[in-house]
């Protein structure tokens, strides 16, 4: 499986990356190489195998619906790039 510049541009847009032409070329080569290595996964028969998405078989974990103290707003906003009052401030969302 090899991928081309168009694929890289599409994945970069999904990933919210802005890449220059040189970067795109490097990633085309490297990701193609990794993906062709990954093709070996087509070899084993998985016809009747269930997917394993988690190593432990666990059930839901419940807790009492009780209010607990959490990190204060001041301490959370302290590390934010921009705040305004009780809010996080961001650039224009709607054009």
């Amino acid at each position: 499986m090899s991928i081309n510049i168009k694929d890289i541009e599409y994945i970069a847009s999904l990933s919210k990356f802005k890449l220059n032409d040189d970067e795109k070329m490097v990633f085309v080569g490297q990701l193609s190489e990794v993906l062709s290595y990954i093709e070996k996964l087509n070899k084993p028969d998985t016809e009747n195998v269930m997917p394993l998405v988690h190593p432990l078989s666990m059930t839901n974990v419940f807790r009492d619906d009780k209010q607990e103290e959490s990190i204060s707003r001041e301490n959370v906003q302290f590390i934010a790039p921009a705040v305004m009052g009780a809010f996080f401030k961001v650039p224009k969302v709607i054009e």
């Binding site: 195998v49 432990l56 990190i71």
Partner: protein, 486 residues
């Protein structure tokens, strides 16, 4: 210098017996850090003032005969992807350059409760993505045994610091071999607990179905001590197992008489370095001499582990790392017109190339039209790999094999070939995919004088048995006592 070459348990005895004061120990430690870390480059940040304050407090407690914790006065280094309240936690990424967590990870809380002293934050491959610690955005850590070689990774800062006697113990983290492989390459002990044994609360997420925090130490007993402290139920991590934590030091000297040791044929094939093969063969002879029975076993799906890992880990990473958007914390690019440009520029300027490569691979594997071919297929093969282990553990007590196919490689040697770098983890990744625990202990040196690691794997939640098997070997050998010339 002499004080610093002791193990944590030895130094604890001296502190409790009032032979030494913790503040003097800390002073000596920072003097050595200043002397050797400009070469080794294991620390990203030091926590000097707080460490001295903590040391004074412990000295006071001991002087007043107040009860102290299990790790009283022991200097510990922390991998910089584990949140420490008030101390920058960067993941060795520019995107978290200014991130000062407002809370402690569960493991940090436990260390503090047991009076450990946090001396600094150690280097790693950015977001723990790498096998050499060369992918850090800040510095390249060097192997204390040969400064031209890598320490392994991604917990290379933690293992190098312990090997260089500038930390008595350290915490690392694993997603695919990131504690065991650098422990092997630096000649120290590193343990990856069973998935769910240690809380992931406060560990900055990479692959959530794989990530575990684990101890790095100078010998097996120190490793057992540190694991006893950090393991256990935490309500903040719902994947953390509700299974009691034993004192891992108890019964550690039980030996291996009558134990059945499985040697997987697939781990001794092409690509295994001759020096590593020789050292592991010799180690198996020692186990035989100690009364263990060596049996050949097969884990037939081993060859698919790296391919499965690079789909599963990166799919999970692409989702986990979507949170770095420049909104609530971390780096935000300036002078942007709209919010989409802010996301794109912050992420493009903040992440390094390896992280971008993995996020893109993960998003590709999860994207419409490719999910079944990649993520679903990989998850099924993951199950086959787990079933391999389930089968063999019905017949044996543990698996013994090499930790890494090669000793430390040279800095720069693999950095431009991601696939070759990924294959460094071929013997460690299956344990992460299956959730089983693993440990790497020193078992020899290559002809060039570089450390070699022996890996022991057991079934889930059998850390006590695994440590007992590791200790049986350590007691018979002196590889763990070797020190690099620095």
């Amino acid at each position: 210098m002499k004080l610093l070459s002791f193990t944590a348990l030895q130094i604890r005895r001296k502190i409790l017996a009032r032979e030494i004061r913790t503040s003097d120990l800390i002073k000596e430690l920072y003097e050595r850090i200043n002397k050797v870390d400009p070469d080794v480059q294991s620390f990203l940040a030091l926590n000097e003032k707080a460490a001295f304050d903590a040391a004074k407090e412990i000295d006071q407690k001991i002087a007043n005969s107040v009860k102290v914790g299990l790790l009283a006065g022991i200097p510990i280094a922390i991998k910089d992807n584990i949140c420490t309240e008030g101390i920058a936690t960067t993941c060795a990424s520019k995107i978290l350059r200014n991130f000062i967590p407002p809370y402690d990870a569960f493991v940090i809380k436990r260390l503090k409760e047991e009076d450990a002293i946090i001396i600094g934050k150690t280097n790693l491959d950015e977001f723990a993505m790498g096998s050499s610690t060369e992918n850090s955005s800040y510095k390249i850590t060097r192997n204390p045994y040969n400064l031209n070689c890598v320490p392994g990774g991604s917990s290379g800062g933690s293992t190098a610091a312990v090997a260089a006697d500038i930390a008595f113990m350290a915490l690392g983290s694993e997603t695919g071999g990131s504690i065991r492989q650098p422990a092997a390459l630096c000649g120290v002990v590193g343990l990856k607990p069973t998935y769910g044994r240690v809380s992931r609360y406060g560990l900055i997420a990479f692959g959530s179905s794989l990530d575990q925090i684990g101890p790095v130490a100078k010998d097996v007993c120190d490793t057992a001590l540190l694991l006893s402290v950090i393991a256990g139920k935490d309500k903040h991590d719902s994947t953390c197992a509700d299974i009691g934590v034993p004192d891992y030091l108890k019964g550690i000297d039980g030996g291996v008489k009558g134990f059945r040791v499985g040697v997987p044929v697939e781990y001794f094939g092409k690509g295994l370095d001759d020096d590593v093969r020789t050292a592991v063969d010799k180690a198996l002879k020692i186990y035989e001499k100690l009364g263990a029975k060596i049996v050949e076993v097969s884990l037939p799906h081993t060859e698919y582990a790296v391919a499965v890992y690079y789909i599963v880990a990166n799919a999970e990473a692409s989702s986990n790392l979507a949170r770095f958007d420049g909104v609530r914390y971390g780096f935000r690019s300036n002078d942007v017109k709209g919010i989409d440009e802010m996301y794109c520029r912050s992420r493009s300027e903040g992440f390094g190339n390896e992280v971008k490569r993995r996020i893109m691979l993960g998003n590709y594997a999860l994207s419409s039209g490719y999910y079944d071919a990649y993520y679903l297929k990989a998850s099924k093969v993951r199950n086959l790999i787990k079933k391999d282990f389930d089968e063999v553990f019905k017949k044996i007590d543990c698996i013994i094999c090499p930790t890494s196919p090669v000793p430390a490689f040279e800095i720069g040697e693999r950095v431009n070939n991601p696939l070759e770098m990924y294959l460094s983890d071929i013997y460690t990744i299956p344990a992460n995919l299956s959730g089983i625990p693993g440990i790497s202990i020193p078992c020899g040196f290559s002809k060039k004088g570089l450390p070699i690691g022996l890996q022991i794997l057991t079934n889930c939640f059998e850390e006590a048995k695994m440590l007992q098997i590791a200790y049986a070997f350590e007691r018979e050998t002196d590889f763990h006592l070797a020190k690099p010339k620095l």
